[in-house]
Symmetry: C2
């Protein structure tokens, strides 16, 4: 496995692989790799010939009061995971390699970035789409892999790729959960033992929602109120949002119909956790 630190070196490695007729798979990450990332890497190894994993904690997607500095960076462990999983190249650029000077050019996806996390993290998705556009242009993959765990991000990235005719395919892989249901996240390690226990209520609230929809409840307000009840059992929880939205447009819906995205963001102490499920209400 190679480790590329510069744009020039990753481009050279990808070019050589492509010259051999290989398809290029890409898993963009911020490192602190866990079994969620591993599932993306496995999908990439299975579906493409040459797998690039980027490890880059992107400053432009963090707000000024967010955890950019504290974000875990266990680089050697990350490399070990990539090596074991059959990754061909890890692209791990320094911040100056990606942002050598003032960045004036931004890619912005309107509307889809406004609700849900967009309300609470202004500028976040603009940072995500811009760095993904940059990484896609650097790595030039045939397929890039993202997790359903970050549901809004997945929808926003797919829309960017479609709207800008980017020559790659986006594959969204299922959310990976701990045995007790908690969605795996690099930020779970911020939790105390008690908070970690309480955090299972996030998925419980989402499961409650699925049950209610499957039982025929269609009133979003009623469902959300039950979910809130569950989340309020977490002593230190601050609920950012509990939303039932159209799975394509992300517009809030009063009456559940068709495919819906149920999404939750909760701060437990100072740790912000998100989770979601897609529910097809027509398949009751």
């Amino acid at each position: 496995m190679e480790v590329a630190r510069t744009i020039q070196s990753i481009r050279k490695l990808v070019k050589a692989a492509r010259a051999k007729g290989k398809t290029i798979g890409f898993v963009p990450t911020m490192g602190a790799l866990h079994i969620g990332h591993v599932s993306l890497i496995e999908a990439a190894v299975q579906q493409t010939d040459f797998v690039v994993v980027s490890i880059f904690v992107n400053p432009t997607q963090f707000g000024p009061t967010e955890d950019f500095e504290e974000y875990p960076r266990p680089f050697d462990d990350d490399l070990e995971i990539c090596r074991k999983k059959g990754v061909d190249v890890v692209f791990a650029p320094a911040p100056k390699e990606i942002y050598p000077g003032e960045n004036l050019t931004w890619v912005n996806v309107e509307k889809l970035t406004e609700p849900l996390c967009g309300q609470f993290r202004p500028g976040h998705f603009r940072g995500v789409t811009t760095v993904c556009a940059k990484l896609f242009n650097i790595v030039t993959p045939d397929v890039a892999f993202f997790g359903q765990k970050d549901a809004q991000q997945a929808i926003v990235i797919k829309r960017m790729v479609t709207d800008l005719n980017m020559p790659l395919e986006i594959v969204i892989c299922p959310t990976i959960r701990e045995p007790d249901g908690l969605a795996v996240s690099s930020r779970n390690q911020y939790l105390t033992r008690q908070q970690r226990k309480d955090a299972t209520l996030i998925y419980k609230s989402i499961q409650k929602c699925r049950e209610m929809i499957e039982a025929g409840v269609t009133e979003s307000r009623e469902i959300i109120s039950w979910m809130r009840e569950i989340l309020n059992q977490i002593p230190s929880a601050q609920i950012e949002y509990i939303s039932i939205v159209d799975a394509e447009t992300l517009e809030s819906i009063d009456q559940v119909a068709g495919k819906v995205l149920v999404a939750v963001a909760v701060k437990i102490g100072s740790t912000r956790l998100i989770d979601n499920i897609l529910v097809d209400s027509t398949k009751k």
Copy 2:
């Protein structure tokens, strides 16, 4: 010469050329081809192996009161010019091929798009950068060719390519002028005979500026006042701007120093014309 109408067909043609080891040159145009475009095509033919010219009047770069509907579309003449000049493919998509639905994703270059034409054509550069990003992703050229005539556009596109790490090179070709100095533009054909005659004063005003800088005048205000005097000789002229700016940042400068861009936008009747020159004031 082939004419591709769909994204799928142009991609297929480019892929086949690249598989033969050919480099791809790209000249994006809105059609109504003139000797300015021809100079770009000639540069592309000279510098690359396989030349794609796009002809697409991009709706998103026109303001609501601008000339999108009236913009000339002499398609058969354009094809004839391309054929004669050795173009390999003309990519001429229908609007629905480029914008199949609501476009939510925009590429925006901050700061550089604010002065000069940016002040008078809100949204124009966002339309230009977005459609160029789309076309670059569709055609995937190694080199794309633009004219110095649209100086701000050239700087904005170059910045977008650098900031987003787009894997292509941008070549800027010199402004092509009529024998009397008027910068060649598709919009010159809107002019009446008298307006066409008056329009030569635009380049005269710019030449005056160069002469003054070369004679050692450094006060922008003084130079601009002389230029305004010349342009005011055009009876139906409405001057949008006469600007002396830093050639890289496009920031207005009071004292001429280093490389400067002298840029003018004038409406003659309802026809908006622009022109510019780069002056290196250190080479007096």
